[in-house]
């Protein structure tokens, strides 16, 4: 089995390599081009270079892809517009997943937000809806992400700081107060406790009278990238993967419009990976979830459409656009060839994009408005389904209302003023972009082959291979910036001495006190015997690998068991994860 899998990546890699090197069919036209190119070099370029040398000997993308002076059909001699690009909404989906793209429906403007108490975040969500946001996206604080209640010792000083605190169903009720769950789609950036938050969302939906079948949204629940990059885990990988499996099974039956895994490259990139690594590691994770689903007895055709993706968009404009195009083509091709998928809906790589937080600078922060606008434009030209734009003050703190508004307006200006959304994949066919798309695809396959040779994603995580690859790239990037090889305006060039302070959002300890107080009330008012019984049943389910824990998580949530209590049941059964050494 392993042998045939390994050979798929190897075979495909050599096919792509051969395609990228292949000669064109129309040799006569190519000969003319070559002649023209040679003449240009001799008669125009060389005399020019003698008097005006170029700024650098080599130009390269942040992924170390050498960038040529100018691209011509000679660089993509074997480019086949049908095989390699196709048309929007048709295989291999390089140009976009839908036949009309933004002409039919603009991307969803989904601003990631959350801070302080559920009341604070509820207010911000309503503010954004009133200003034209079209989908919700909720950020949780560190205690919630790591599965600790607001009154846990480990939550001291951290409640509400990085996102909204949720300790029990009561908090979720307040967070979603007067948000019409039957009408909006909600994305929740939650991983280790994703099943619990999904259960809470379902419970609030039921109270609002919205049937589970009608609830639309996404939980990130991509634990693989947690071990690789974001590092918000609780249990060892196998335990989390099993809980994801349970949630997949539950959602398929009960919440068919719920995207239960959002395979995320965003955090891989923020942790220091380059664009090629982001592309390769994210898709490798995606294939691992496909394997998990197959193992759980699903048909790929049925569950692949519920897997969505989440990418970063950083500053190297064309490399980012090429990454998105390559991602679609790779996903569709591998699902078709390796997994035998025929249902077109199961071949689509749909994705959310967030502009790069790591590209924002602390220095001269208003420049970040420009960075975000350029990154957002690349995401749109790359065919994203939804987009979050960062606020200019986010290298300093969580964003103020004023900063968030500019970030949202940036998307609206791109959508409504620039005309870039009027035609699909307007950069398709660009010699450079098509060449770069091919190049990134080939490099991604080379990583797939390498990961497979280590024994798959999980083995590569346990060996620390993926984490070290990212850390080494991060260190290289930092050194390049310090040597002045990579320019960051305001940081290592065009620097000014003093920065006027900007006003930032402050989250004080009041949020923690309020959350702790409410938690006390919840513990007092609930039926504690019912909670204990629900937690015991969950424990039994966790101990039985064939049981589906999701139904029992829902039961515990409805009995007002707290997030921390539910997560602790797993801590007792599965233990906690310790990362291998990354030095």
């Amino acid at each position: 089995m392993l042998e045939t899998q390994r050979s798929y990546w190897r075979v495909r890699l050599s096919e792509i390599g051969a395609r990228n090197k292949a000669r064109a069919v129309d040799q006569k036209a190519m000969k003319r081009l070559k002649e023209n190119y040679r003449k240009w070099e001799e008669q125009i370029l060389e005399p020019w270079l003698k008097s005006s040398p170029e700024l650098d000997k080599d130009f390269q993308t942040p992924s170390n892809i050498k960038v040529g002076r100018v691209y011509t059909p000679l660089d993509i001699e074997n480019f086949d517009p049908v095989r390699d690009a196709g048309l929007p909404g048709s295989f291999p989906y390089t140009r976009g997943v839908y036949p009309t793209m933004y002409r039919g429906k603009p991307w969803t403007m989904r601003m990631f937000s959350g801070f302080g108490t559920p009341e604070d975040t509820n207010k911000r969500l309503k503010y954004l809806i009133n200003h034209g946001e079209t989908g919700l996206s909720i950020a949780f604080d560190m205690p919630t992400l790591y599965g600790y209640d607001a009154d846990s010792e480990r939550a001291e000083g951290e409640v509400g700081k990085c996102g909204c605190n949720i300790s029990s169903l009561k908090d979720m009720d307040i967070l979603l107060n007067a948000v019409p769950l039957g009408d909006v789609s909600t994305s929740m950036t939650i991983n280790a406790p994703a099943a619990i938050l999904t259960a809470m969302y379902a419970a609030v939906g039921e109270r609002q009278g919205v049937p589970l079948k009608k609830l639309r949204g996404t939980v990130q629940a991509d634990m693989l990238k947690e071990y690789i990059a974001q590092k918000e885990w609780v249990y060892p990988p196998e335990a989390h993967m099993r809980i994801i499996r349970d949630m997949m099974l539950f959602c398929t039956k009960q919440m068919p419009q719920w995207n239960y895994v959002s395979v995320s490259g965003y955090h891989i990139r923020e942790a220091g990976a380059d664009a090629v690594q982001e592309l390769a590691f994210t898709l490798a994770d995606g294939f691992a979830y496909i394997d998990l689903g197959i193992e759980a007895g699903f048909k790929v055709e049925e569950f692949a459409p519920r897997i969505s993706f989440f990418f970063n968009c950083c500053m190297n404009f064309f490399e980012e656009i090429a990454k998105f195009r390559a991602a679609r083509r790779i996903w569709a091709t591998v699902l078709k060839e390796k997994y035998g998928v025929t249902n077109p809906r199961a071949l689509l790589l749909r994705f959310h994009t967030q502009t790069s937080g790591a590209s924002l600078t602390w220095q001269q922060p208003t420049n970040n408005v420009v960075r975000t606008a350029i990154e957002a434009l690349a995401a749109v030209l790359g065919g994203t389904q939804s987009l979050h734009t960062n606020s200019y003050d986010e290298a300093w703190a969580l964003p103020t209302e004023e900063a968030v508004t500019i970030a949202l307006r940036t998307q609206q200006i791109i959508a409504e003023e620039t005309g870039v959304a009027d035609t699909i994949d307007p950069l398709g066919g660009s010699y450079y972009l098509e060449w770069l798309t091919n190049e990134m695809e080939e490099r991604a396959f080379s990583y797939f082959d390498k990961i497979e040779s280590i024994g798959g994603v999980l083995a590569a995580v346990k060996a620390g291979y993926l984490q070290r690859e990212i850390a080494e790239t991060a260190y290289r990037t930092q050194k390049r910036a310090e040597e002045g090889k990579d320019i960051v305006v305001g940081v290592n060039k065009h620097v000014v001495e003093e920065e006027p302070p900007i006003s930032t959002l402050k989250i004080d300890l009041k949020a923690q006190r309020r959350q702790v107080k409410r938690l006390k009330e919840v513990r007092k008012q609930r039926d504690n015997a019912k909670v204990a019984k629900a937690l015991q049943e969950l424990k039994n389910a966790y101990k039985n690998p064939d049981a589906n824990s999701m139904y029992l998580i829902l039961k515990a949530v409805k009995a007002y068991a707290t997030l921390g209590e539910i997560v602790n049941v797993g801590r007792e059964v599965f233990g906690e994860w310790t990362e291998p050494s990354l030095l």
Partner: protein, 144 residues
Amino acid sequence: MAAKSISKRTEQKKIRILVAKPGLDGHDRGALVLCRAFRDAGMEVIYSGLLPTPEQVVRMAIDEDVDVVALSLLNGAHMTAFPRVAELLKEKGAGDIIIVGGGIIPPEDRKKLEKFGITGNFGPGTSLKEIIEHIESRVRKERR
């Protein structure tokens, strides 16, 4: 490269440094970059790994007999976690261990942290050279 020559000029004894993230914060990019940079600058580097409590950080610092503890947090909890490490070190009689900090630390918090003896408190975009020089200069003063 400049960093290397500076460390040669410092004392004979290598600087032992614990890079630690005392809290619920998985953002380890900066910490891992620093580990590599400190190592390349000739220091002996110990990394706390993720999610230690301030108590665990202090235990590691004492057990490993380090000269410096470099604290990194990007989750906004630095005003709780950093002073706690400083207090615990003093309590355990290890007040001579130098503490430096970094992360998303607003200027007004920097002054407050300095009162606890936590210096540097570097924000995003700080060069590795500046951080290394700061640590070496504090160690030089301490060893004098």
